[in-house]
Subunit: 134 residues, 2 copies
Amino acid sequence: MSETKLRYSKQRETIYEVLKDDCTHPSVDAIYTQVKKRIPDISLGTVYRNLNLLADNKRINRLDIGDGVIHFDARTDPHLHMVCDECGLIQDIVCHDSTLLELINKVNRHSEHEIHSADIIFHGTCSHCLKKKS
Amino acid sequence: MSETKLRYSKQRETIYEVLKDDCTHPSVDAIYTQVKKRIPDISLGTVYRNLNLLADNKRINRLDIGDGVIHFDARTDPHLHMVCDECGLIQDIVCHDSTLLELINKVNRHSEHEIHSADIIFHGTCSHCLKKKS
DNA sequence: TTACGTGCAAAATCTTTGCCCCTGA
DNA sequence: TCAGGGGCAAAGATTTTGCACGTAA
């Protein structure tokens, strides 16, 4: 949870590279499988450790969609997520305007709490599955 | 995941009653502890089984705040959640107006996907912790 | 040199499941 | 009667951690 100085390690940078090039919001296991192609003897524990370190240092984000495993995302700009209930894919929804900030401001005005951030996960049917259905 | 007819059971109704009277969005373990006071020999497996059944039948909702355990909520009207990063409490944020629907509609207009629902979890500092700080 | 990082395996958590007995309808 | 429900314990699944060895700075 705390931000600490990190020394270079091939494993950690490879994990970060793999995640950065993967837009599917992969689970730890999926990342492990990918990284293993480049560093065959890396261990799952190392992948967990480094993903947690990277997240604690805000280089990546944890993403919890409620499927029982943690997903990770190398995008750190504010954006929303959409989970397709048909195919399970997780997609980014870019905030075209100030929608997200507006929502947070609205809640801040109407409640006594102080909101700092919002994790928003939409559920529905993705464009690809919509086409398949019609 | 599928909705099925459920026969009456004392255990299930007690679990539902306990959850309905608890506004803290308790974890399975917290619910188990509560229910155990009324039915001392109930088993944890039964609590899991029934919470999942109740959720599948839409009588309650699962709530995933990313802390590694599932929370449950007997409120089924559309509302948002706020997790206090200081004390960990989960609070309801009532949607005063059509904010939530507006957000969903906006995304539906701007993306090719079809959004059906939104799970929104705010992070910040709750009113109680704000007072303690000042 | 030395504090941080790794691989490995064991442990810790959390959740589901099989089995046999019980119970609501 | 009998299919659904429960208790118990074992199994599964996911994640963390201790330890001895390796490595960046």
